[in-house]
Symmetry: C3
Subunit: 314 residues, 3 copies
């Protein structure tokens, strides 16, 4: 593996998940591996879990960390080939990526979807440009269309909590007052197709994800029906893919205790941050079945495993 751009960069999911779980019991067991290696973490968007867990993962491996917010601390970047740069952007990604590659051993980048143009977002302009021009490995800390560190975290969390070999896992859309990217949902859907799971997606009509991603995964437009006998309920809002960026705030999709009661005592998962009493009721996230905090903890070990793989591969 050179880069960790998407979950397709995982060569053997089972091995990775088991290695991550092992790291969790001994986080400092490879703290010489990253000695005198430097990770540059570049943020084009806000971040709490990703920022701190990836930093912690690097520290656990003995790496040096340089964090940079591109919003304000650096120069606004141009991505177009051949652009006459007489507008707002001061630096081309071609230089920025090559230059930063010389100061670091690994680059980690967060750049959300702007939700203005489907074509632009799904071209993965920012991450793919950095990958194209960087001369060091690049890690995706959530791009326009994917969040593979989150999806690896989710695979770890499901593995830890599952009681049967092939659990029923439901990805449920839920309402949100703002337009959110499809990145987390996309990567989770891809991950569930790699895991041994009975996987169903449920969302309102019009909120179908890209069919290139969902492929043969069954979609149930009836949320209550989908929840029946579920072992895991994974909740996430996303804005419309087809009517690109359209907000979805239908309150009838909010996750309630009553809906959770339809499941097989399912664990409740969410990537966070989550808006309480909009996406989910307090009663659900505060219940003993909610594993959102443990899930967030696993972010450290997912990131640490990815960095370990990259460092071992150098």
């Amino acid at each position: 593996m050179k880069n960790y751009f998407s979950i397709h960069d995982i060569d053997s999911l089972d091995t990775w998940v088991n290695e991550a779980i092992a790291l969790k019991t001994a986080p400092l067991s490879h703290n010489e591996l990253g000695k005198n290696k430097t990770i540059g973490m570049l943020f084009f968007n806000p971040s709490l879990r990703t920022r701190l867990s990836t930093q912690k993962a690097a520290i656990n491996l003995g790496m040096n960390v340089m964090v940079m917010n591109f919003t304000g601390e650096g120069w606004s970047l141009e991505y177009g080939d051949g652009t006459v740069m007489d507008q707002g952007n001061s630096e081309h990604v071609k230089e920025a990526a090559q230059v930063v590659s010389q100061y670091c051993d690994v680059l980690a980048i967060r750049a959300f979807a702007k939700l203005e143009s489907k074509d632009e977002d799904y071209s993965e302009k920012v991450l793919k440009s950095f990958i194209k021009y960087a001369t060091i490995p690049v890690v995706n800390m959530e791009s326009a269309t994917g969040h593979p560190l989150q999806a690896l975290t989710d695979a770890i969390t499901i593995t830890e909590h599952k009681k049967i070999d092939k659990p029923k896992v439901v990805l449920s859309w839920a309402p949100h007052p703002k337009a959110l990217p499809q990145a987390v949902a996309n990567s989770f859907v891809e991950m569930m197709q790699k895991m041994d799971a009975n996987f169903v997606i449920t969302h309102p009509v019009g909120f179908e994800l890209a069919s290139e991603i969902t492929k043969e995964v069954p979609i149930d437009y009836n949320q209550e029906n989908a929840f029946k006998d579920a072992d895991f309920i994974y909740v996430k809002n996303w804005s419309s893919y087809h009517d690109y960026g359209k907000v979805g705030s239908d309150k009838s999709w909010q996750i309630t205790k009553e809906k959770m009661n339809l499941t097989n005592n399912a664990k409740f998962m969410h990537c966070l941050p989550v808006r309480r009493n909009v996406v989910i009721d307090d009663a659900v996230i505060d219940s003993k079945n909610s594993v959102v905090i443990e899930q967030a903890n696993n972010r450290t070990y997912a990131a640490q495993l990815v960095l370990k793989k990259i460092l071992e591969n150098r």
Copy 2:
């Protein structure tokens, strides 16, 4: 001590002050104590001294440091119980605090008074919410109503400079063009009640601090009278507690050389930043009696002692 929320978390002031003074002579003497321990420093407000001295203190103890500005780098937080989060805030402190606790060993937080509502500020919503939900120790890097790292610094500085066992210490209000919190003054007042000092507060009528804090401390509305025979003049502006947040800019309270001449050759103290020639005259802060720079230096050792106590207690 689990948390360092206020100076009431100090179990033995004399011991602490002496330990801090000892740390100052050998700052690296415990540089293995923090090995593989991580402090997360969360800022909701600007900070120079607190930011750098606390970071330096952690480094001196061998800790890893992760700094995060919540203003822009993270998600805006909700603090209310049961809130329907369909407005501006993206994440509840309940998740944020629990999650961050998993990446760090100690949390340090700065969250100023907003000076819009006395009830809200004096409820210490931000710090108390983090303390409630965090599963690791929390250090107050200035909250809405207190600045206990500053007050410990001040106790160290007074101990170093006092020439008699029970010096006369005067907290003098001074004018300022903006509305400032009462936090520094509150913690200093509480600290002086713990020290062996002849302590007096002087301020204009209407600028009384909370009586729950000042208790039996004498208040003299005549600044020049209060200054007589003082060994330490501690200057600070604060906005009105009773007419909550009202600016106080009465120039007749500005600290001048003439007023300092009324004292017993008093040392001049201020927590900084200070507006020259508004709060105090250049002639005072630039005089040999001004200990403001040494006082700022002691911030490192106050923070280092607090972190040391927390690490030793784990």
Copy 3:
């Protein structure tokens, strides 16, 4: 050397350049020198290369790094002597510099020209105030009128690439849509006067740099003539010094392949960031003669050498 304020702080250029080139082959060879030493990096402006290369240089020397953006993270600073500080600024540089000096062993500061007043910019108010009041060495990470870390980088890069003892080096102005400082050009002009080079400056009439800096350096207002037989073309826009801050966007000065063809197969240099197809054509920066990426890499070793000199001198 106490401070690295300008290239005049270099005592022996040849020695420095050779030491920097040696550091490049063994960046970790002095990684004990900075042990338990802390650099404070203060930014008043955006920075990519300077931010990350200086941080990396400090890490290579084993130093601790504390980074602070003064824009937002700290207090706005006052620089005037005797000012009545009743306006926007909260803290005087006199305190800030003294205080920060107590938490760090070296200070590095970036503070651009504001291009509002020639007198103010050329007084180097910010850097000189920090140097005046700081009690530790100060490194210039680009000030109002100079960028000596860049100029040292440039000397290293030219030394590495020159094929004859006294190459022809041309500093060429090029157009830009915004008003840029003269800092990089100034320091490069000063540096070329220290190196064994046949040095020429070319720019449109009205864009003369300060004569105190250019001294006897020949100025050719004919760009194509200047390019003839050049071994190095160093490109940089700057706004007018005489009509202070006036934008220069004359497209006929843009660097093209045709112009480069007039040279003696010259290496192309630029400090970056650069606006493609405005300052220079893609064909030039993407050509094999472009050394801009290697030049940016040398930023690390220039900074590392300066920090090493400072640490050795303590």
